[in-house]
């Protein structure tokens, strides 16, 4: 068990190192350097440019820059954001909680909705309910994240004007009382959270239905049927418990999927999180910020899959003994 945990943590470290190396490599093959604008400016002399490069360590040989980059990332120093004129760490620590808020709401809501839908489908395979839910989840599984977000945005903010068009707070937010502030954030959260939930609950529902389909023909289900238990009880109590195990492993996939979804949802709803940071730094070519956001995103995903593995161990005693 301890050995297993240690190897999982080692793996986490490897992933972070790998992503950091990729980020460093990409920054350095990217065309131009941060002083490209200055290079184009004839008023900036070569001496000034050289001094800038020296100040940022860009005149050192690449291997040395690489070692410095990796060690500083390991120490938690992510560099300086050119576009925000703030330390990258400060920019990201403002954004990360907002993304986590969105992701965690969607995570719990999607598992609840998805499992519920799959149970409803499995009660009567081939029925109208089964096919309608299956069709809807196929649609949600096949629609680009940003397109769904845009449709909801146009419908509920322009057409029906029920929700604010974006952001996380109103402009007058600082003058609000604490309770009104909370309500304000909640109002802004509704649409992005619903979008992300719709997208991911389709994945959960498809997965859970397949898992239930695998369990339902098994002998213990037949026994339960032979005892004369109602189908509702069989599906909910006998089949679902055993079919939940594969769904727990879906937990590990949830993090990359939700993060991917969040990138699009945040852009559409101008939600001030990691996704908006990533998109904004593409536009402003702020590579240090972009790469750090991607490193942090990957760490988030790796930690998520570690958590999922631990959960799986906790849920399935057979595995615990085997380790």
């Amino acid at each position: 068990m301890t050995r297993y945990l240690l190897s999982r943590f080692a793996q986490l470290a490897v992933v972070v190192f790998l992503v950091t190396s990729i980020a460093f490599f990409l920054i350095h093959v990217a065309p131009g350097d941060p002083f490209a604008d200055a290079v184009a400016n004839p008023n900036v002399s070569e001496a000034v440019r050289a001094r800038w490069r020296e100040a940022y360590g860009l005149d050192k040989p690449l291997p040395e820059q690489f070692v410095r980059y990796v060690t500083s990332v390991a120490r938690g120093d992510l560099g300086w954001s050119f576009s925000k004129q703030r330390p990258v760490k400060a920019v990201l620590s403002d954004a990360l909680p907002n993304t986590l808020l969105l992701m965690s709401i969607a995570l719990f809501a999607s598992f609840a909705v998805g499992i519920g839908l799959a149970v409803a489908q499995a009660l009567k395979p081939g029925s109208l309910t089964d096919r309608v839910i299956g069709g809807i989840s196929l649609f949600l599984f096949s629609v680009p994240e940003f397109l769904l977000a845009l449709v909801l945005l146009v419908l509920f903010t322009y057409k029906f004007q029920r929700f604010p068009i974006g952001g996380m707070t109103d402009l007058d937010y600082p003058s609000f009382t604490p309770i009104r502030r909370l309500a304000d954030i909640a109002r802004h959260t509704v649409l992005p959270a619903i979008t992300l939930t719709l997208l991911f609950s389709a994945v959960v529902a498809r997965y859970q239905r397949a898992a239930l389909q695998d369990v339902l023909p098994l002998d213990f289900v037949k026994t339960a049927r032979a005892k004369g238990l109602p189908e509702r009880v069989i599906v909910r109590h006998h089949a679902l418990r055993n079919a939940l195990l594969p769904t727990i492993s879906l937990f590990g996939l949830a993090f990359p999927m939700l993060l991917t979804g969040a990138v699009f949802v945040e852009k559409v709803f101008s939600w001030p999180g990691m996704g908006s940071i990533i998109v904004g730094s593409i536009d402003s070519r702020d590579y240090p910020l972009l790469m750090s956001a991607i490193i942090i995103g990957s760490v988030l995903v790796a930690v998520g899959s570690l958590l999922a593995d631990l959960l799986y161990l906790a849920a399935d005693p057979r595995l615990r003994d085997a380790r």
């Binding site: 793996q11 920054i27 196929l138 680009p144 397109l147 845009l150 699009f264 593409i282």
Partner: protein, 287 residues
């Protein structure tokens, strides 16, 4: 016992959603593949960017025109060519890589296998979209071939895990042992005896993979790191119509039609994948 080819075909034909999916795919792929035969406007020509821009759908241009007076219908067909061929080639690349990697790892066993699987674990933990954003955002002149290569090279991890599992299970089977007893070398056993029996997950992964790449292409375009205009792709055209968020509702046709084409295509590929999975099930159709 694996179902014979005939059983698979019979099961597919009996599956109504599979038939519908295939019909839908043909209805979309044929006009896209033969785009020049179906359109009267050039997808890049701008007849009159002042007077003919943002024309709603009409008899002359059934899907309307865009900001530069280009005909959206011909753009959707030509864009479909791009999007579909990118998706097909990238997926072909992914499933080849995934099958080869998984088969080698599963067949080699021992240290080779565990090293290969650890590498795979590390690769799998890097979110694909973030990696693609990082690569494409720093890439100035992104050519289609590089776009395809990189998408293909980031899409095989899941499949190779499944293939490895299948190969492991297959290694102990009697027909493999008897082949070995007859003196067949490892390469022959792998290619002639093991691989044909792991085709099921590969075919299913191919169908689902195509849909995923189409979605990725559109998503990357929306984020501004996709293929460069003016050459149309479904993602690019959708992006043309959603650029100005306040105007989406009044110029809906620019994104609606490519969006519909894209969603229907992806739905068709996904349900085809589902149907194939069911048809290729070893023990008959699940109740």
């Amino acid at each position: 016992m694996l179902p014979t080819r005939r059983t698979v075909a019979r099961r597919l034909i009996a599956n109504r959603s599979a038939i519908a999916a295939m019909a839908l795919l043909l209805a979309i792929i044929i006009p896209c593949a033969g785009a020049p035969l179906f359109v009267s406007h050039d997808p890049l020509s701008q007849p009159d960017p002042v007077k003919l821009k943002y024309q709603p759908p009409s008899r002359i241009s059934p899907f309307g025109t865009d900001e530069l007076s280009r005909d959206v219908f011909s753009r959707v067909l030509y864009g479909g060519r791009t999007s579909l061929s990118i998706a097909l080639v990238a997926t072909l690349l992914s499933i080849t890589l995934g099958t080869a990697y998984g088969a080698v790892a599963g067949f080699a066993g021992g240290v080779v296998e565990s090293v290969m699987m650890r590498i795979l674990d590390a690769l799998m933990s890097i979110p694909r979209l973030l990696l693609l954003i990082a690569v494409f955002a720093t890439w100035d002149e992104l050519q289609v071939k590089w776009f395809i290569l990189i998408i293909g090279f980031t899409g095989w991890y899941g499949l190779s895990r499944i293939v490895r599992g299948q190969v492991l299970a297959m290694k102990g089977e009697e027909f493999v042992m008897s082949a070995r007893a007859l003196g067949a070398g490892p390469a022959r056993i792998l290619l002639r005896h093991v691989l044909p029996n792991v085709l099921t997950p590969v075919i299913v992964a191919a169908a689902l993979g195509v849909g995923r790449v189409i979605l990725l292409e559109a998503g990357l375009s929306y984020l501004g790191v996709g293929l460069h205009p003016p050459d149309p792709s479904w993602g690019n055209i959708i992006q043309d119509g959603t650029d100005k968020i306040y105007a989406i509702a009044s110029i809906w046709w620019i994104s609606f039609f490519p969006g519909m084409a894209l969603v229907l295509t992806v739905m068709a590929f996904n349900s085809l994948g589902d149907a194939l999975r069911e048809a290729l099930e070893p023990r008959g159709i699940r109740s």
